[in-house]
């Protein structure tokens, strides 16, 4: 029998209609932070190459690194790096079959979120004190 109601049936709920659980948000953020880290590494490698190029090139790169733009990129990269590191460590535990229960995944998600913020603030404090 042909399905006469093909275009008018209720659709299967798609990803966008759910309120994502925190474990799903921390999971996709791992991918996003991993890719966004390219900005920080590019800025630092440009700065390193500029240091062996010429005084003018270094002055330009060093100005960007130490400007507020540089601070935003490097502080953001520091957070992304800590976040990706903590989420990566969780992934290693997941691979070993540890922490896969819903409650455990929810707890580890909050550890990653709060832990990455604390480690970033610590990094910035150490950077400005040292």
């Amino acid at each position: 029998m042909a399905d006469v109601n093909r275009g008018n049936r209720p659709l299967s709920p798609h990803l966008q209609v759910y309120k994502l659980p925190v474990a799903a948000v921390t999971s996709i953020m791992t991918r996003i932070t991993g890719h966004a880290l390219v900005a920080g590494i590019l800025l630092l490698v440009w700065w390193l190459v500029a240091a062996v190029s010429s005084p003018g090139a270094f002055a330009c790169a060093d100005w960007v690194v130490r400007s507020w733009i540089g601070f935003v990129v490097l502080a953001g990269s520091t957070w992304a790096l800590w976040y990706h590191t903590l989420a990566g460590i969780r992934h290693l535990f997941y691979d070993a079959g540890i922490g896969l229960e819903i409650e455990q995944a929810r707890n580890s998600s909050w550890i990653i979120i709060i832990g990455s913020v604390i480690l970033t603030l610590l990094s910035i404090i150490i950077f400005f004190l040292a």
Binding site: V45, L48, V49, A59
Partner: protein, 128 residues
């Protein structure tokens, strides 16, 4: 119609023909990066703010140079394999191939640039 049973596809290294190679490479590089990340942050944190000669002398020393080289090389190889998964998820056909090629070329260019700078600093700093 394929006259092949699912078992045949799963045997040996499976349908991808590379087995768990990618996953294992990510596991190994992730463990290395857990050690390298705090070391690299401290190294870079101490270098930012130095004048040009200071930066060259600083990265001319063995520890900052080796930590930075390892972080960039291991990090970018980890990045190539990480973007590959993202590309496989969101890109298809020719766009997928182009994205993989761009990702690999870009990552090795970043590695080459960083290694070049570090090697040059090492030579500039050599005192006999």
């Amino acid at each position: 119609m394929r006259y092949v049973t699912p078992l045949k596809a799963a045997e040996g290294l499976g349908s991808a023909h590379t087995g768990t190679q990618h996953h294992w490479a990510m596991t190994v590089s992730a463990c290395a990066l857990v050690l390298l990340t705090p070391a690299f942050l401290l190294v870079v944190g101490n270098a930012i703010g130095l004048p040009q000669e200071g930066v060259i002398a600083y990265f001319g020393r063995p520890y900052p140079a080796i930590v930075t080289a390892l972080f960039v090389i291991v990090g970018m190889v980890h990045f190539i394999k990480g973007t590959r998964i993202m590309i496989d998820d969101y890109f298809h056909h020719t766009a997928r191939k182009v994205a993989i090629i761009v990702s690999v070329i870009f990552s090795w260019a970043v590695i080459a640039a960083a290694v070049y700078a570090l090697v040059k600093m090492a030579f500039v700093t050599i005192v006999i």
